[in-house]
Each structure stands twice: as C-alpha cells, then as structure tokens.
Amino acid sequence: MNELVFFINNVIVAGSVTGSIYAIGAIGVTLVFSIMRFAHFAHADMMTFGAFMVLLLTLAFPGVGSVVGLPTPVVMLPLAIVLTSLLAVGIDKAFYKPLRAHGVKPIVMVIGSLGVTLMLQGLIRLFAGTSAQNLYLGGERKEIYRLELPFELATRPVIVTEPQVILFVLTIACVVGLHLFLSRTRLGKAMRAMSDNPDLARASGINTNHIVAVTWVIAGGLAATAGTLLSLDVTFKPDLSFFLLLPIFAAAIVGGVGHPYGAIAGGFVVGFAETLAVFNWSVLLRPIAHHFPEWLELPRNLAFVGTEYKIVVPFFILVAILVWRPTGIFKGKVI
C-alpha cells in the first residue's frame, strides 16, 4: 500500500501541480495565438516577471500575509497581476503593434517576441541576480499537510503543501472565470469572434484594437499567476523561462492551437506525461516481484527518462502530435 501512496505523491499530486501550471501558461499562449496569430515566445518570461513582481512586493511589505491568514506572496498576487498586465499591454504597444502595422509575416513577430524575451530576461537578471530565491521570506514557511489514508497497510501519509492547495484553488478559479468570460460576456464573445475570423469581426463593428488589449491583459494576468504559483511551489529562478517554453507550447499544440479548453487539457496531458515518465516504475512492481520468473531480474531504476532529461517528454509529445494530428486533440484551427 505504501507503494501506492508513493505513486500518489509522486505522480498524482506532482502531475496535477505541473499540469495546472502548464495549463494556465498554455491558455495565455493559445489566446495570443488565436487573436494575433503568432507564437508568443515571451510568455514564459512574463511568467518570470510576474513572480519577480511578487518577490519585490513581498520584500517591500513583509508580514501583510499574517494579517489575512494567507502567505504574503499570495496576498501580493493581485497587484503583480495588474503590473504584469500593464507590462504586457506596454510591450504590445511598444514592440508588436508597429510590426503588426507594417503587415509583417507572423514569423517576424515570433522573432520580435524572442527579442522581447531577451530584454525581459536581461532586466530580471540585472535586478534579481542570477541565483534562485525563495518567495517565503521573513519567517513564513510552507505549511505541509499530511493526509493519513484510512487503510491499515498504508503507513505513509499523502503529502500536500499549502502552495499546492492554493494552486489547485486558483487554477479552478481561473478556468471557471475564463469560461464564464468567454461564453457569457460581450467582450468574451467578441474575442471568440475575432479568433474565428478577424476580418468579419472588424466588419461587424468589433473594435479589434480593444480586443487585442484585452487579450494582453488576460495573458499577462494568467502568466503572472502561473509564474507566481510555480515559484511558490519550488523557488524563484530568473532563468526558468527556456525550460517552461517547450512544455507550454507543447500543451497549447496538443490541445489544439487557439482552443482555451484544449490548452487546459493539453497542460494536464503534458504535466502528467512528465511525471509518469520520470517515475520509477520498479517501485510499483516490487511488491509483485516474487511472481516473476527466476530469469527476470528487476532493475533498481525503471524510469523512462531520468529527471535531468525531463525536457525530452514535452518534445516527444510535440513531435508525436505534429506527426499524427497537427490540429491537436480538440481540432484547433490555425495551421
């Protein structure tokens, strides 16, 4: 039974955590893709930027969290979301809008977004340094919940930490909020119309500039949320973006580009695939090892890939989906 608990801790919990983060990130990428028709590479750095804002705010106002009863970084998250949204809109005004006005090919926009990536990275590293930092400052620490299972054989508890609980709650809130926004509000419907057919949307009187700005606000806010939650769960590192880009894009493409609900599913597919691939399967096989024939010796490490090769997993998924079903599992439209 302990093996099962081990499996739950290392695959179910860890997979949901990474899956949620990838899902929130991928929603932003896929929204930008469906409205502006280009792969926004600076998204992962907007995530880092959001987390950095939270770090700065937590440094500036320590101890606010204890008043509310939440960790200070979580209390600072709304402010960071606002700041990151402003940054996203500003970046669009300064760098992407002139390119769009020139009518460049989408791939030039992609290169432009890579330039923005480097600028953000340079700024963050200039001010934050290059080392990893913990978001829990000034005596706050992560609460760890140990859930005992009501079975006799399970002696080890299922472990969930406080940021992980907050992560799950916020992910559900984001998804439900986004769903309501896209399906019920006028603005959300206008966004979907523009993603379906920009010319028709413009012809029917939708202010496309307005929609673009709203998209950036949403993308920036989601990026700040995902980045902060990731940094809460592990630590804040200024250089995580290049490792986040591939899983996030893989998630967006698996779900079908331009498909917010697909991006959520894709995020969880990629997240679980990663944790399943690095999980050591011989732990689960060990209790039934005595049923195996003599000649079959169970190796100690039976993981598909080592944790250092984790990045291979999203790439493999990306390649597989591009070969077999380039439109994604939910039939995205832009190819």
Partner: protein
C-alpha cells in the same frame, strides 16, 4: 517571359547589376578600420583570437542566412547544432582512452547498442503486422506495448553499462583522428537531426519550426551535459587538438593566424558555393518558394522537399562551424552552450548584416562579434561607474555578484537590437539584391 518596359521597372528592384557597390565598400572599410583599431589597442594575440572566433561565427551565420534569408525558415535552436558540431570535434580529435578500450567495456556497450537496434527493428516489424491480417487497432496496441517494454529493457541495460564506464574509465575518450574529420561528421550529424526536425515541421506553419528547434537545442544540451560517460559532462574535456600546429610550437599569434587562415579558407569555399547556388536556377526556385509559396507550387515545384533541402544544408554549416569553434577554444564544455551566445547572437548577426546577402552576413558576423566582445569590459565599466555614483550620492550598498549582473545587461541590449532592427531596418545593413529581369 515578361514584356515589361524598362520605364515600368518595379521600384523595389534595389540595384542594377552595374552599380558601384558604394555601401559595401564603405561598410567594409569601416570594419577594417575597427579591426585595425582593436589590433592597435589590444595586441595581436588577443585580436587574432577575436577574429578566429568571429570567422567561426561567420560560418554559423552563413548557415542561418541560408535558412532565414534564402528560405524564410526561422531556426531558434542554432545552439543545439553548434553543440553537436563541438561534440563531434571533441569525440574525433581527443586522444584514445586506453582505460576504456583496453577492457571488455567497448564490447558491452556494442552489445547493448545492438540490442537497441534489434529492438527498434522488432518494433518496426510490429507496425507492419497489419499486412499479415492483424486488425489495425490491435497492431497499434501491440506496437506501442512492445515499444514501451523493449525501451525499458534496453534503457536499463544501457544505464548499467554507462554507469560502469563512468566509474571505471571516466569517459569513453576520443578516436584520436584529425580535428577536421570531427567537423565533417559534426556537420553530418547536425544535418541528420535537422532532417528529422524539418521532416516533421516544415510542412506546417513556420512557428512550429521555431518551437521544435528551440526544444531540440535544449534536449541536445541536456543530453551532452548529463551523459558523463560520453562527454564527461560538466567536468569538461580539454585540451582539444587543433588541425594546425598549436600555440606551443609557433607562439600564440602565429598559431592563431594559421587557424584563421583555415577558417577563412572554409568561409571562402562556402561563400563561393553559396554564391553560385544562389544565382543558379536552384537559388531562384528557393526564393520563389519563399516569396510566394502558392505560385511556386503551381509551377510544379516540390515545396516541402526544397525546404527540407535548404534547412538541412543550413544545419550542416552550423555543425561544421560549431566544430571549428570548439576546436579553437580547445575545450568542450556542454554548459558553455547558451541560447544567448550561440542562437541569438547569430540571429542578430544575420538580421543586422542582411538576411539573404552572404556578404552582408559575413559583415554582420564580424561587426557584431567585435561589438559583443568589446561590450563586456564596457558593461563592467558602466556598472562600476553606477556603483561609485550610487555609493557617493545615496550611500547605496552594491550587491556582491555585480559582475555577473553587469553581463546580463548585454542580454537586454541584444534583445533590444533584435526588435529595433526588425522594426526599422528589416532588410539589414546590406540588403539582399533582388533582381527583376524584364
């Protein structure tokens, strides 16, 4: 054949063939003056080293200008192909490791690799089971299950052998061959990976190619960094022998000058071949595909095949350039391959110099590399200045890791440069000359 009159010649035809190349002459004279200035200031040994590195980067930039300038494909993973080239240069040129070859370990490794090949063939055979009347769904299930099980078996065998190699022999060592064999094989290997990526992505939107190449570059780096049995990982391999007599025999300046002549010869050959290809029907076809894919397809051109051809060609050049760079630095350090230094710097060289214009690309490579090298002391100086002002005026205490932070400012500058060039000079300093025959 078009019947256009000369008066109707399109305004975007940049130059008549007989125009005096004023812009080229001015830019290259300025570049020469800068190079001479660096020689006067920093000494010959340092400056020659800078030029050799710049020439290696020029080979990389030529590879990228084929992909981006000729064909409009964006490769965001130059670093991966460069690292592959460097790895092959290391593997072929480093002396033979007797602690590995003298034992039974090569046989063991060969046996595991043979198992791997046999497993791959078994899985391939399983995917063809439907020819024997097995239902297609069942075949897919059998093939996937077989692939998972065989993969696990082979990977655990491989882990055993590589762990043994690592603990007993350190790493498998090199082959003791001349460095240029490694460069060529590195080019071939990079081309092979490029073929695999291109085959998957080139039929789709160009964004997918950027994502996939970005990913493969990180994977290649992760593989080289963590395969201690193959590359010694973070422990790095040095020294790598040069194809020319080394500094110990000739002194730094002369040895580096000799190396520079080798790389310059390589650039000259590549430049000549590319120039011929660009003006040949093949080059016209590539540009036609870039500029209007649909009409090129309507003319009966096999678009995806040509794209694959040119992508692989660019990757081969990157592999060769990466090999030359690693051999010159005389150290193989997988951690030293950074997206900034080996992808984005090359990108800036190409888009600043002039995508699609070989001469412009070489100019961009040398000019940007000089700026890049010179910006390091400049960034440190500016940072020191800011610190002294800050300490004097506000009593501000500077953070300790200031030097590493100052270098991050260069990341920002490169990013800004990319966006500004795309916005204000998308053609580069030496634009591609588009000829209109009519």
């Amino acid at each position: 054949m078009s019947t256009q009159q000369p008066s109707e010649q399109r305004a975007d035809s940049v130059a008549a063939p007989s125009r005096f190349p004023l812009r080229e002459v001015v830019l290259f004279t300025a570049l020469l003056a800068v190079v001479l200035g660096v020689y006067a200031m920093m000494g010959t040994a340092y400056s020659t080293r800078m030029l050799v590195e710049a020439s290696c980067y020029a080979i990389l930039a030529l590879g990228l200008t084929i992909q981006w300038g000729y064909a409009g494909q964006f490769n965001a993973g130059v670093m991966g192909f460069v690292a592959l080239g460097g790895f092959c240069a290391m593997l072929f040129s480093v002396p033979v490791n007797d602690a590995f070859w003298g034992t039974e370990l090569p046989g063991e490794l060969g046996r595991v690799l043979l198992y791997g090949a046999a497993a791959a063939m078994l899985v391939y055979g399983a995917t063809k089971l439907d020819r024997l009347g097995v239902p297609k769904k069942l075949r897919t299930v059998i093939a996937v299950a077989l692939a998972v099980v065989l993969y696990l078996v082979v990977i655990s065998l491989l882990r055993g052998v590589t762990g043994e190699i690592q603990s007993r022999a350190g790493f498998i060592g090199g082959l003791g061959l001349p460095a240029w064999t490694g460069w060529l094989v590195g080019g071939a290997l990079a081309g092979g990976i490029g073929y695999f990526i291109g085959k998957i992505c080139l039929g789709l939107r160009s964004d997918y190619l950027a994502i996939a190449t970005l990913g493969i570059a990180e994977i290649i780096k992760a593989f080289l960094k963590n395969s201690d049995w193959l590359t010694r990982g973070t422990a790095t391999v040095s020294p790598l022998p040069w194809p020319t007599p080394g500094p110990s025999e000739l002194g730094f300046t002369l040895a580096r000058a000799l190396y520079l002549s080798v790389t310059a010869l390589m650039i000259a050959v590549i430049f000549f071949l590319l120039h011929r290809a660009y003006h040949a029907p093949w080059g016209r076809m590539i540009r036609a595909i870039r500029d209007n894919e649909i009409s090129a397809a309507a003319m009966g051109k096999d678009i995806n095949r040509r794209r694959l051809e040119i992508f692989v060609l660019g990757c081969i050049l990157m592999g060769i350039g990466g090999g030359a760079l690693a051999s010159f630095n005389s150290i193989f350090d997988p951690n030293g391959y950074l997206p900034l230094n080996h992808t984005f710097l090359v990108l800036v060289m190409v888009i600043l110099g002039g995508p699609g214009n070989n001469l412009g690309t070489i100019f961009g490579a040398v000019a940007v590399y000089i700026i890049w090298i010179m910006s390091e002391p400049l960034a440190l100086f500016v940072m020191q200045l800011a610190v002294s002002v800050g300490e004097g005026a506000f009593g501000w205490e500077p953070p300790s890791n200031l030097d590493s932070r100052a270098l991050q400012a260069r990341v920002f500058v490169i990013g800004l440069l990319i966006t500004l060039v795309l916005r204000f000079a998308p053609q580069g300093l030496l634009p591609e000359k588009v000829k209109h025959h009519g």
